[in-house]
Subunit: 202 residues, 2 copies
């Protein structure tokens, strides 16, 4: 048990260091040697946990999404009306990612253009996992009569599509500086999407 | 007059050749020599029209968007209900771009990662121009009582944001193979967006 906790700790420390190094120098200039030095372990120890630099960055992105999903689950469990929860979840999925990578400023383009094909594949899985959380609340809204009868899974997919262009990957670093503007745009899209769902009986 | 018509012809021929070369070899491997040979002019003549390879590709993308805007204008002028025109315009903005670059398959990622910063800047202008066309129809819908009272400009911006993640730049080449799926997703988002706009009096 102690071993596996240590294993997780080192893994987490490597990902924490990755975050700092990506913020500082960007992906290209980051080396496994830098990472090992930042964590205070040997280079070989890094390779015990990750096969490659690419895998480290993808795991770092995975960790951001795991944390986001925990936040979405927390909002989903609230007792507020379903449309309010969905609005909050839409903003969270955009703003949480924004906050997670905002400090990269100059190097985000760089990171993602290096690992674009692998990143897009991984992103598809992340979206599927997010969609499940959104679909559960849309279904709840339909079941409660808060929303019109609508296919929850399809609608969840459309909700994500409609806000995906606001995620950091699609933004220039200049746009990344404007958190309030990004949040405002997300709310505007959320408002339009939700307006059509509200049951007219309500 | 003949000179300027010739000038336009050569420029158009260079962009046509760019399209073919991007489809075949991708951006990195495309040279000004290749382009000149494909058009049947000297290398110096290419530089009379364009400063750099980068500028050629950006002009090529500009031309795609000019053609798209002409199509959007045609739909905007129809006499059908405003929601139907907007639905058609949303599908057109996605599918027209898709068709324009679909034959690049392997090399689209490549092209765009090379010129990403310049491309994002140019894209912002393209979106503003598109938004004006959408806003005019949203305003018409509001004026006619087909839609609820809503800010046309803001709503047009949200319509573009909500479909921007379906544009080729955000898709993997694998996704680019699935035209019917992309169209279906666009229609689903359009349906949700428009559902909320329709006046309940109607």
């Amino acid at each position: 048990m102690k071993d596996s906790a240590q294993h997780r700790d080192v893994k987490g420390a490597i990902l924490d260091a990755t975050d700092r190094l990506l913020a500082g120098n960007g992906y290209k200039k980051m080396t496994i040697d830098d990472l090992a030095a930042a964590v205070g372990i040997g280079k070989g120890s890094v390779y015990l946990h990750f096969k490659s630099k690419e895998e480290i960055v993808l795991s770092h992105i995975d960790r951001i999404i795991e944390r986001l999903k925990a936040r979405l689950d927390d909002i989903a469990k609230k007792k507020t009306p379903c449309d309010r929860r969905l609005r909050e979840m839409l903003v969270e999925r955009v703003v949480f990612r924004f906050d997670s990578v905002q400090h990269y400023t100059q190097s985000l383009n760089d990171v993602l253009s290096q690992i674009r094909p692998q990143f897009l594949e991984r992103r598809k899985r992340h979206f599927d996992e997010e969609a499940r959380i959104f679909a559960s609340i849309i279904k709840e809204g339909v079941d409660r009569g808060e929303f019109i009868a609508i296919n929850a899974k399809e609608t969840a997919g459309a909700f994500l599509i409609a806000t995906n262009s606001l995620l950091p990957y699609s933004l220039s670093t200049q746009d990344l500086g404007e958190r309030a503007e990004i949040e405002k745009r997300t709310l505007k899209v959320a408002e339009l999407l939700l307006k059509g769902l509200i049951s007219r009986k309500g």
